[in-house]
Point group: C2
Chain length 438, copies 2
């Protein structure tokens, strides 16, 4: 299978674990069969390759997610980076062109587009394989997956099929309905639109040429910002007459809110936390170094990270967005290609950060115009390059880096540094990158 | 009035705001009439001096509380430091000897012993003044305060008076009863024993000489550890036949648990926190730099400090002791005579601390055998003394202090330093103090 996984942008609905630079798909709350924690994106990749060990997965995503994907999946997946933010039509088109022009995928090959965030059983990817088989048979231009509804939901778009067979042509699409209308749809064997689309690569590229003028992937990349900002559904799906839907009746959960995430996370407690015996139906995720004690909590989710602490009734957790927008802390934690970056103290004119670099990795060679930095090595070994001079680093070593001075660290073993930043204006943008001079 | 305030030891019942070095009486959750936050000990001192502006207050306490008392009350109170931990008989005796031998209080003066932790109205201290007046009249050797019960409590000892007049002689004392017995006591006009005792100084000193052999305060201080470890009630009160009780019917709250503290704290939120509109009867105290978002919380208390995070149903919060004992973090925050000490990161072999020194203050001149320290000044100005050499400190200055090296900082303005400690074994006991060489 050729799968394009759409790994969408940052979200705040799983605050404080998701933020502007950390999407929910990278939070490790699930477990694999060996009992190791895995993230949404790791779980999806594992499930796809369990169903089809030869599957080729390309993740369509933004630049900000590249480090996290590399950290979590290594080189096992291809990554198609969107140069700016557009809706799904452009994102899928760019990824399709990437498959064709960069990975050499044949125009006769089937491509299946899947969202990265539903929590499902492996049978979901067996159904995805059915979509592929169906496209190969050539009975329709576009094949979708429809989820058998478990209740008349107002949250999803509906597909009305011609009949209730496993594979049926599509009669019509319906927007998110109210409950009464949803109930009527259910009587007509309606299905939830899962956002899974399968087609021959040639189909999409041909159609796209009708809508956009472009030569190839590189051209699309350059003109990306000028592409129409419309959804794949609106641009193609709803206009296509040769279209069919494959019915999926297994479990499918949209883990976009803490209420749902709490239901499927592997352990009731992750991190330092204690619940007394009177807690009921409560989950705690604690990424802080300090312990949480919960007593008498019923139907609650408690989540703590460097960004903040959420204590919420599960039902209410779906309504947090306006409150989280009000809470305007800077980013306190970031996953980098080389390790992690955790703000441990911030005050006017200074910020203290714990920088952890994995063995063998190094940060970019860079300088800051408006701040100096003091590094103190607290564990591990490595090398620093300061204005072109290399220097061995051991525990206890201190390096003062003046504003304008180029610097970087390379870790021989896992390396922890306490970095004190000092300056009137400490902002992420104050960074110039350089090639390493050697 | 001569008042001895018993400021007892560390407690964990208001964890995470109280810990081994920070007692509940120093947490600032109340407000004075100007709207400034004040602690239990500040509130009590303010109330005493509102009722009697010439009151002399001596706080009987342990060494660990001296800095906090100085920080919060300055030189307005005398402090009698217990050299070790003994029960109330020895603590009160030491304080009484301190009043007589160190402060020159006459043996004919009345002394009133009060606990530091009830939350009361000023009328409580008017009642304390009544105790003093009653002792002066000489109608009994010992005069106690009895709180008019508001319900048949199992939590307090009871005083059964001879009659229900304002001042009555005491018929007998009763231990904490069960509810049924408590109800019977209430029918007999019984009062809660509030731990308030008034007597002439000569009475206590004479009685004490019958129990303990000692010459004066300094002698008592030296032999303190050998003094009987018994309560004042057991040693004297329950054996005294010339004893009376003054009835107090005003409000009186024992704020020993979060349940009670939440009821009397000045604001529902202290620190960075947001509650959504569905929260009910919930209080949040947040000493961390990161925000708390509470949604749909009912009858809860949420408290966060560098030591940990409590999320508790109010009713359950009284049962936290065994859980808090299980949570064995080191002390993450300490109030010092010169400012504050906050652990911001801890890992094997290293600890990062934010040291904040108030303008004009300085830490002790000291050294560590088993750790080095790196200081980076992040705000303010001051002077460091390193192995006898004085050095001016400005923002951005870095000082590396090897193990064995003597060091201290003096703040010219408020001064913040990030201190990275590095060593195999980082423990509070690894500290030698010196006189400053100048």
């Amino acid at each position: 299978m050729n799968i394009i996984l759409l790994s969408g942008g940052s979200g705040k609905r799983l605050w404080p674990l998701s933020n502007d630079v950390r999407s929910k798909q990278f939070i490790k709350l699930f477990k694999d069969s060996d009992g190791n924690y895995e993230s949404m994106v790791q779980r999806v990749y594992r499930q796809i390759t369990e169903v089809d060990p030869s599957a080729k997965v390309t993740i369509a995503t933004s630049k900000s997610q590249v480090s996290a994907i590399h950290n979590q999946l290594g080189d096992k997946v291809s990554i198609c980076v969107e140069p700016s933010r557009r809706d799904t039509f452009s994102a899928i088109l760019l990824a399709a062109a990437y498959l064709h022009d960069e990975l050499g995928t044949s125009v006769d090959d089937v491509v299946i587009v899947c969202p990265v965030d539903p929590y499902v059983e492996n049978s979901y990817y067996e159904c995805v394989a059915k979509l592929e088989a169906s496209v190969k048979q050539g009975t329709a231009n576009l094949t979708l997956m429809g989820i058998e509804p478990t209740y008349p939901s107002e949250k999803y778009g509906y597909i009305i099929p011609e009949n209730n067979r496993d594979i049926s042509s599509v009669k019509e699409f319906k927007e998110k309905p109210n409950i009464k209308t949803a109930k009527e749809y259910l009587k007509k064997n309606a299905l939830w639109n899962a956002g899974v689309f399968a087609f021959k690569l040639s189909y999409l590229l041909d159609k796209a040429h009708d809508i956009v003028e472009f030569s190839d992937y590189r051209d699309l990349y350059v003109i990306y910002e000028t592409l129409p900002n419309i959804s794949f559904d609106y641009a193609l799906v709803e206009k296509e007459t040769s279209i069919q839907v494959v019915r999926y009746s297994g479990s499918w959960k949209d883990v976009g809110t803490w209420n749902m995430m709490a239901e499927v996370m592997a352990d009731d407690i992750k991190g330092k936390a204690i619940m007394d015996e009177t807690c009921e139906n409560t989950q705690i995720i604690n990424e802080l170094n300090i312990p949480i004690l919960a007593m008498g909590c019923k139907d609650m989710v408690i989540a703590a990270s460097g960004d903040g602490i959420l204590v919420s009734d599960k039902e209410r957790s779906g309504y947090m967005k306006p409150f989280v927008e009000e809470i305007s802390t800077g980013v306190m934690f970031a996953e980098k290609s080389w390790g992690t970056y955790t703000v441990i103290d911030a005050q006017q004119g200074a910020m203290t950060v714990k920088v952890s670099i994995r063995a063998g990795e190094h940060m970019s060679y860079h300088s800051h115009d408006y701040r100096e930095e003091v590094w103190t090595v607290v564990s591990g070994k490595g090398k620093a390059t300061i204005d072109g001079m290399e220097q061995v680093l051991c525990v206890g070593d201190v390096i003062a880096i003046a504003a304008g001075c180029k610097h970087m660290v390379e870790a021989d073993t896992d390396l922890d540094i306490i970095e004190v930043q000092i300056g009137e204006s400490i902002i992420a943008d104050d960074k110039k990158k350089y090639e390493i001079e050697r």
